[in-house]
Symmetry: C2
Subunit: 288 residues, 2 copies
């Protein structure tokens, strides 16, 4: 047993899978559920993701509280929990951006922000909600914790132990670097995929285009099936890093455009060959 | 039996799979292989994709000749075949762009361009070469034929019958529309994926970025694992349509950038919601 009581705020795919995995590992005795969506809480209870539905004050009495919701809701939820927080209770989150979440924790929790452990599990799917939760979602997946300067060391150790019990490999990263890295390898690709699909869908003759789209298009745009609310929040929360990545990508696309316009066969072949090589190296590093 | 002798120019994934499927269907008696890569021909012979290796003059004596090579090689190959072409022989191709291929056929074949049937199977994978060929590659997949004004009707009918025997659904499309549609749903996504990977790979600290790339990145960039030579040729052959698509995408990304910069939550949510909805509709239409 790592903690007696775990409270989950947002009992969807991410929170529900965390609860399931920890129950299966015997790492928690009781899981409490709280949130603003009664249907989702009821479904989580029925599926056995949580043992009990509680209110904000009830959740704040748990030993550990996981926030698993769109990052834009973090500040409001922390404010609701703050007045009731049990002594020694740890608060952690699963948001995709980290600098903004740390700022929100400092503002809402004051001195108790030492008990806040910012986290980001690198797992998920376009599926969402309690029905999609699975005990093995985090098995072998990475979880990044981004400890801030005044973090309580044993709170960090407990959250690390919980994720490890859920099957994840835990790493730590500076929060600003985290946000820059994920802007590049996750946030930008998501926004680029949404934009590509939307640009086509806006055309009067979009049916003709979609009709001939095939497996390359399907995979390229898979992430455009993700939650619009979640990605709106991420785009807003990671604005600066995302703008830098967008500008780098726009510049790279402009230089590609130049090569196409100039029929520069050599430049195109070089670019495509470098890209394929880099991707092959990356795929190999993923296997090991 | 639809044709007695079929010659395949380029005995890789596309040509080899066509040959395998037609043999299995009993639609051809003998398959001849020709090309500039002796290793690929030898491998195709060993795998039974072809029955015999022939020279250009030998290939030109077949009843039907399929060109399955990077579109940039089309003109040169047609010129080699032209002087030897048997009376009534049909020439077809599997290139990803069609306007340029038709122009090349008119120049190389003159009046015999009536026997040229431009085709494009919407199937493939990042795998290539004879080892990747499979009899079921075209099963249930679309093949687009783009007949030109002076095409011989029975040549078109024979090529249609061959693809149908290979398991494909055949459709016809105007060549210019074909090139515009595929620029949007295939060529642009490929180039956008190559460019994203290359832009990251060029960074001094690219390791840190690739280290945290996950399944979203993997799927978004899967098509950046494709053949650089093939995509160089496509980019060159479909230059005008591709430039138009690149400009439309760049404009859409600029307007996304504006929404991010202005923290325009409403515009972002609308864009992401529209995109997800359009993709869901498309996926449903694919199932049916």
């Amino acid at each position: 047993m790592i903690v007696e009581q775990l409270a989950i705020v947002g009992t969807g795919l991410i929170g529900g899978s965390f609860a399931l995995a920890l129950k299966q590992a015997g790492a928690v005795r009781e899981v409490l559920g709280v949130g603003r969506n009664p249907e989702s809480l009821k479904a989580a209870l029925e599926r056995g993701l949580i043992d009990r539905i509680v209110d904000w004050a009830g959740a704040a009495q748990a030993d550990c509280i996981l926030l698993a919701l769109p990052v834009g809701d973090t500040a409001a939820v922390l404010q609701r929990l703050a007045p009731h927080l049990k002594a020694g209770a740890i608060v952690t989150d699963a948001g995709s951006t980290k600098v903004g979440v740390i700022t929100a924790a400092r503002a809402a929790l004051g001195a108790r922000s030492a008990d806040f452990v910012p986290g980001h599990p690198i797992a998920g799917s376009e599926q969402s909600g309690p029905a999609a939760a699975r005990a093995d979602l985090y098995q072998g997946k990475r979880v990044v914790l981004t400890p801030h300067a005044d973090i309580r060391t044993d709170a960090l150790a407990t959250v690390r132990a919980l994720w490890e019990a859920a099957g994840a490999q835990v790493e730590t990263l500076d929060a600003a670097l985290h946000d820059r890295v994920f802007a590049a390898v996750s946030h930008l690709p998501h926004l680029a995929a949404f934009t590509l699909v939307d640009e086509l869908a806006q055309r009067a003759d979009s049916d003709t285009f979609f009709r001939f789209a095939a497996s390359g298009f399907r995979d390229f745009t898979r992430i455009a099936g993700s939650s619009p609310e979640m990605w709106r929040d991420i785009a807003l929360a990671n604005r600066e890093a995302l703008l830098a990545e967008l500008d780098a990508y726009l510049a790279a696309l402009q230089s590609l455009r130049q090569a196409v316009e100039g029929s520069d066969a050599g430049a195109l072949l070089e670019l495509f060959s470098r890209a394929r090589g880099a991707r092959e190296d990356w795929m190999k590093s993923q296997d090991s």
